[in-house]
């Protein structure tokens, strides 16, 4: 039997970058909870994600979802050393702004604001785009994340130099690289298997 897409007619979809909470709806059929096995729950890592249509769709291939989620969690939540969480979220927001993922940018700009307390600067990045002036350190992080997100990647020694001049250690620069690189994975999934909706 041939599978089908889910016809969507989203009313008042989000059409601008925002730090507000918004929703998301899948274009392909998520796994229904009745179809979940132990393996599927394990692959979600966080069982509550069974309620999310995004994760319930991705869990159709549990092995890659589980490894992806653990990669994601370590890159963003493992903050015992290295780049502060706020600036990992800034890298994620910059990549999402460049690629055009309104949903990803809304989630991670909220985190960037929450951890940095620089809500206005984060909003400036969303409103003005990736060339917004956010001060030396944030400018260097955004420019590096954007250059790495280009296809082909345009990240070069000058970006490393600017990050070092702004006070980042090589370990912290590695965290910028991983945060931006990861969102080139996340943006492409979120953009291509469903679309943003108003807050549920």
């Amino acid at each position: 039997m041939t599978d089908t897409i889910i016809e969507t007619a989203v009313t008042n979809p989000p059409v601008a970058f925002t730090q507000e909470k918004i929703g998301w709806t899948a274009w392909l059929k998520p796994l229904s909870e009745a179809e979940f096995t132990e393996r599927h729950y394990e692959a979600l890592v966080d069982k509550a994600r069974a309620q999310s249509s995004y994760f319930a769709l991705l869990v159709r291939d549990p092995d890659i979802l589980e490894a992806r989620t653990k990669t994601d969690n370590d890159i963003f939540y493992n903050t015992k050393d290295g780049l502060p969480r706020a600036e990992r979220e800034l890298a994620a927001t910059a990549a999402s702004r460049l690629n055009g993922c309104i949903l990803c940018a809304s989630v991670h700009s909220r985190f960037a604001s929450q951890y940095s307390k620089r809500e206005d600067d984060v909003q400036k990045l969303l409103d003005e785009g990736v060339s917004a002036d956010l001060g030396e350190r944030w400018n260097a992080i955004v420019a590096a994340s954007v250059a790495l997100s280009a296809t082909p990647p345009a990240f070069g020694p000058d970006h490393v130099k600017a990050l070092r001049n702004a006070g980042l250690s090589d370990e912290e620069i590695s965290d910028v690289i991983h945060g931006a690189a990861f969102f080139n994975w996340a943006n492409r999934l979120m953009l291509s298997i469903g679309e943003p909706t108003p807050a549920p």
Partner: protein, 198 residues
Amino acid sequence: MPDTKDVIDHLLGTVPGSTADGLRSRRPVTRENAQKSWDALFAPGDTSQVTLAERFAVAAFVAAVHDDQTIAGFYADKLDGVENGSALRSTVEALGELAATKGPYGQYPDGPLTLENQEGPTLVIPEADRAVLGDRLSAALRHAHLLVFHPRDANPAALQQLLSSGWSTTGVVTLSQLVSFLAFQIRVVAGLKVLAAA
């Protein structure tokens, strides 16, 4: 000492004790799960929805359009080694060269962001190449090109093309993960290479 089977280390040319090795060693969970991601996509337990030849052909194409010849060569060699793979190699490589451009571009939904709309190409696969690749793989490469260069242009019609070409919902999930994972892997390698040398 890095696991010699770690693909990112292999692509980076990481040697024990090097700068790149040091940077990766301090994030063992990331290193381990980036590799597990690779294993899930390229050494899967279940190939019923996406064949190994399809996986490596898409990977060789995605790396080629990122203009990364080391990584493209790595996946093209892998493609050679799987059932029905070697017959695809030259076509996939030629298409990768033909399709390479600069991204991201694409359209925004009606509203203030349409000022930022940027036009760019959609992949058209020549008939002779379609004959070699078949419907499924042709559709997969078109979709991979969309995801790599203009993901914000994705829409239900693009997924319908995959389904109409013989892809299942689960197969589309795996394909989408594979292309998106490569966008990550290629950037980790590119970024760490620059950092380690700077």
